[in-house]
């Protein structure tokens, strides 16, 4: 287990929530991917990525998220994002991730959008 990240899985109604606490980088990516694969294998169709507002995200982490966004399209899953700082909301928009997933200010708003 990577000490720079913790990912826990919870469910609200039919939404699987990945609570991502810590760094999102190439090093920690496997932990995030494993959690995504776990909910995917269990049949999740609606997945909320709940980030840590104070977390560090770099280009390696963005690549991991692009990989998940790509796979989710093939599997016809809906991915929503919340918990990001305003800086990383801007970065996700800059790279174009917001063309494939929506970012919400709160968990409640994200859950309502599914």
């Amino acid at each position: 287990m990577n000490k720079d990240i913790q990912v826990s899985i919870s469910n609200k109604n039919d939404v699987s929530i990945l609570n991502i606490k810590g760094d999102v980088t190439a090093i920690t990516g496997e932990t995030i991917e494993d959690a995504y694969q776990k909910v995917s294998t269990a049949g999740a169709r609606k997945i909320l990525l709940y980030f840590d507002k104070d977390g560090y995200i770099n280009s390696g982490g963005i690549a991991i998220l692009i990989g998940i966004a790509s796979e989710s399209r093939k599997k016809d899953q809906k991915i929503r994002i919340t918990g990001l700082s305003s800086h990383f909301q801007k970065i996700f928009d800059m790279v174009g991730l917001t063309k494939y997933t929506d970012i919400f200010l709160t968990e409640e708003l994200a859950l309502k959008d599914f």
Binding site: D4, T25, A26, I27, Y56, N58, S59, G60, I62, A63, I64, I66, G67, A69, S70, R73, S85, S86, H87, I91, M94, V95, G96, L97, K99, Y100
Partner: protein
């Protein structure tokens, strides 16, 4: 001798150490009066320049170092990131569509982010060896 307006640090070519340089640059920018937004832009740019130096410049050779120099000027901060490599190939502007469709690897965003977050950036080869990324960020965007 390092002049008063310069800070130099060296980090090992190990992923994760870019955060040390990032926090150092952020502390200096805060002291200079940069806004929180600009400090966040600077942090990402410095981290990405260091990651490029670690991964592509020094090829994660732990016997090499990445040198970071912060130069404080009146209304701007200059950050130079130097590796010991032989030159980094220029990468095309990444396309999210190609990456999502699986036509291109999902990685390759570092230089794109740097160019979009700082006011000025150059990528040069040092005549004495190594690559240098020079970034300038202004107090007022």
């Amino acid at each position: 001798m390092v002049p008063d307006n310069k800070i130099e640090l060296h980090i090992p070519s190990v992923m994760g150490y870019e955060k040390i340089a990032m926090e150092c640059a952020a502390s200096m920018a805060k002291k200079m009066g940069f806004t929180e937004d600009r400090i966040e832009d600077l942090k990402t740019a410095v981290a990405e320049a260091c990651l490029n130096a670690i991964e592509h410049g020094n090829k994660m050779d732990t016997s090499t170092k990445v040198g970071i120099t912060l130069t404080v000027e009146e209304s701007r901060l200059q950050v130079s990131v130097k590796d010991e490599g032989k030159g980094i190939n220029q990468v095309p502007t990444p396309s999210i569509e190609s990456k999502i469709e699986g036509e291109d690897k999902p990685r390759g965003w570092g230089i794109f982010l740097i160019k979009n977050l700082v006011n000025e950036v150059t990528f040069e080869q040092d005549p004495e060896g190594g690559n240098v990324t020079k970034m300038v960020i202004y107090l007022e965007k």
